[in-house]
């Protein structure tokens, strides 16, 4: 089956099962509906698969923050593939492009690891980490709301004891999502707060504990050690925990996101990514390289500041989004 066919089927299925929620669909609809049309435009403009064609493709992907090397490799592979299959007509190249791009994202990985690892009949602990200002606390609020609506008993732990107002911010989100927040005073030891959170979650028979942490730049060794310590507390107190370590990445971030993913993974063994601020104009293409090199899947995307603005990640729709601009200018 060609990639385009697979994709079509996938969307049909999605629509039937309402798997893709309306919000995400809305955001991606324009792109999706006109995607093949746009590809056709491009193809019409470039009758030949020549240098210009590849140059524009390269620029489109680079402007989406797909890693430079990733793009160069892709273009090289495409050039080879085009030669190998003796493709002269741009019409035939579109499948190859899309296929390669999705291939980069998935690599040899299993396609179905995007779901959150939540245990039944047992406390699941989610640790949320990332650099300053990416949207950790906001995403926690949104996630708590979502889990709560699925009938889970959720508790939040205010592990950011450093930034001014961080505890109060999480408390507001706790109110919005209607879940409990465990806290200590500002400046206390984050590991102690998380320890308290676990104790409270256990005694209240909670299903999920989500731990907020202070933002930190990944090159601050002491702060990264502090984070490892928090994780060790969780490991010690709950067997099998943390069940998820979510790294929050701001889609506006460029190539440094790869460094973030690497270093945070070393410190806390990140299991998934929340890609925030996709409601802006940035594309967050760097997650392609992150998945490819570090095998960390994106699990959620943030699409706004409201409690509802968190959606499960859809790789195919995302890859589409990377291309959206390619023909928008025309």
């Amino acid at each position: 089956m060609s990639f385009m066919k697979k994709l079509k089927n996938r969307f049909k299925q999605d629509e039937e099962t309402e798997e893709v929620s309306s919000k995400y669909k809305e955001g991606m609809k324009k792109t999706r509906n006109s995607f093949s049309g746009r590809i056709n435009d491009l193809i019409a403009r470039y009758r030949k698969v020549d240098e210009d064609f590849f140059e524009e493709l390269e620029e489109v992907l680079i402007s989406a923050d797909v890693g430079v090397m990733t793009v160069m490799d892709l273009i090289d592979e495409l050039t080879m593939e085009v030669k190998r299959q003796n493709i002269k007509d741009t019409k035939e190249v579109k499948d190859v492009i899309s296929e390669k791009l999705v291939e980069i994202y998935y690599g040899d990985d299993d396609e179905h690891v995007e779901e959150l690892n939540i245990q039944e009949n047992q406390l699941s602990v989610i640790l949320v980490v990332g650099v300053n200002g990416v949207g950790k606390t906001t995403s926690i609020g949104k996630l708590a709301h979502q889990l709560k609506r699925q009938g889970k008993h959720v508790v939040l732990a205010a592990g950011d004891t450093f930034r001014a107002g961080a505890i109060e911010q999480l408390e507001v989100w706790g109110e919005r999502a209607n879940v409990d927040v465990v806290k200590q005073s500002a400046g206390s030891d984050p590991a102690a707060v998380i320890f308290d959170g676990i104790k409270a979650a256990k005694s209240r028979n909670a299903d999920v504990l989500i731990c907020d942490t202070a933002g930190r730049l990944q090159n601050k060794v002491n702060l990264m050690n502090e984070l490892s310590k928090v994780k060790r507390v969780i490991e010690r107190e709950v067997p099998g925990a943390p069940h998820e370590v979510l790294l929050v990445l701001d889609a506006t971030t460029g190539q440094n996101a790869l460094n973030q993913a690497k270093t945070f993974s070393e410190a806390t063994n990140v299991s998934g990514i929340v890609l925030t601020k996709l409601d802006g104009t940035a594309k967050g293409g760097i997650v392609l390289a992150i998945r490819n090199e570090l095998h960390i899947p994106v699990k959620y995307v943030g699409l706004g500041e409201q409690v509802e603005d968190l959606q499960e990640f859809n790789a195919h729709a995302f890859v589409y989004g990377l291309f959206a601009d390619m023909l928008e200018d025309e």
Partner: protein, 447 residues
Amino acid sequence: MAFEGLADRLQSTIKKITGKGKVSEQDVKEMTREVRLALLEADVNFKVVKGLINRIKERAVGQEVMESLTPGQQVIKVVKEELTTLMGGEHSKIAVSDRPPTVIMMVGLQGAGKTTTTGKLANHLRKKHNRSPLLVACDIYRPAAIKQLETLGEQLDMPVFSMGTETSPVDIAGKAIEQAKEQHNDYVIIDTAGRLHVDNELMDELQQIKSVARPDEIFLVVDSMTGQDAVNVAESFNDQLDISGVVLTKLDGDTRGGAALSIKAVTDKPIKFAGMGEKLDELEAFHPERMASRILGMGDVLSLIEKAQTNVDEKQAKQLEEKMRTMSFTFDDFLEQMGQVKNMGPLDDLMAMIPGANKMKGLKNAQLDEKQLVHVEAIIQSMTKKERQEPGIMNASRKKRIAKGSGTSVSQVNRLLKQFEEMKKMMKQMTNIQKGKKGKGMNFPFM
């Protein structure tokens, strides 16, 4: 593999050229290709890169590079010059209004660091300019944003003006300025909510605040890790608000920070300050030159020097600086300096201090450089005392003797001599840049 510095990137091309003696247009093409990749990897916007590459190419095919004995370094020099020109000079002045209070408005995307920077600026104004600012909480949207500013105000022992989350930010700004007049605050810093540049409603709100508050400065706060989208963000904010300057935050991270270049290119507004940490005194004047090196992955050499200082003998360093400034620096000093570099520990530790140089890569480089270091040392040791003091007397037969004595080639000797001269010039420049700072000059005479 990612995040190679420009010097690393150019190394293989340079190697090919060395020994061949002459640089071909093809070589130049390869070098500019590497330059392009280095800039893109540093998050410089691809359109900005295009313009830069065109200018670099023009200069590179000229005599400047092609007829140089050290074409690699010449390319780097040209690139650095172009970048530095584009970055512009230093501008860390803040406006002063004839009719106080002077009003500063902080704008930017969500999570850029506006509130923290508001606190830092206030601290800066008091400490460096003896001012008494009033902080204004106009972020009524993000939960606990007001609380955040109030906490900063407490930490700084400075007044914070807030009216809760029910009053419109436009009214809050207006009332705050009235209060500042009454209570004789000579500066008012308005912290606004983060917003997307494409959010028409909220961008409109900023324009309204602007028309009420009539700010003397509008600072766009941008996260230094921003990628290709930086141009869209900066252009939008600038078009709609006519910003007066930029504050680049989180530069204490390990990002290359190419966004700085993109922002400057599209707005032509100065980047005035750099956020260098989470504490309220970690705001610095922005150094365009340092930024240019950093973007090229050549490290923030000056900061590195400042860090290395602790390991350098104070008296020696002073002498060295004097020599550097007067250009009386000799090969003996060079040797001594190399010894000091070695004393600072393994080169890869130093490399690790360089933003963006990831450890593994640094290790590989360090071995390479250390090998070159041995050659350099051997060459200098084969010089007579007089030659070391006055490299000017060097002639063909002397060079031949030195090459033989050190087990190197005449072209290697030539290269070192040339590098040495260039380095002396650079040192002079560096000591000039550092004037007024306590930093001791120190450079790494190898590449």
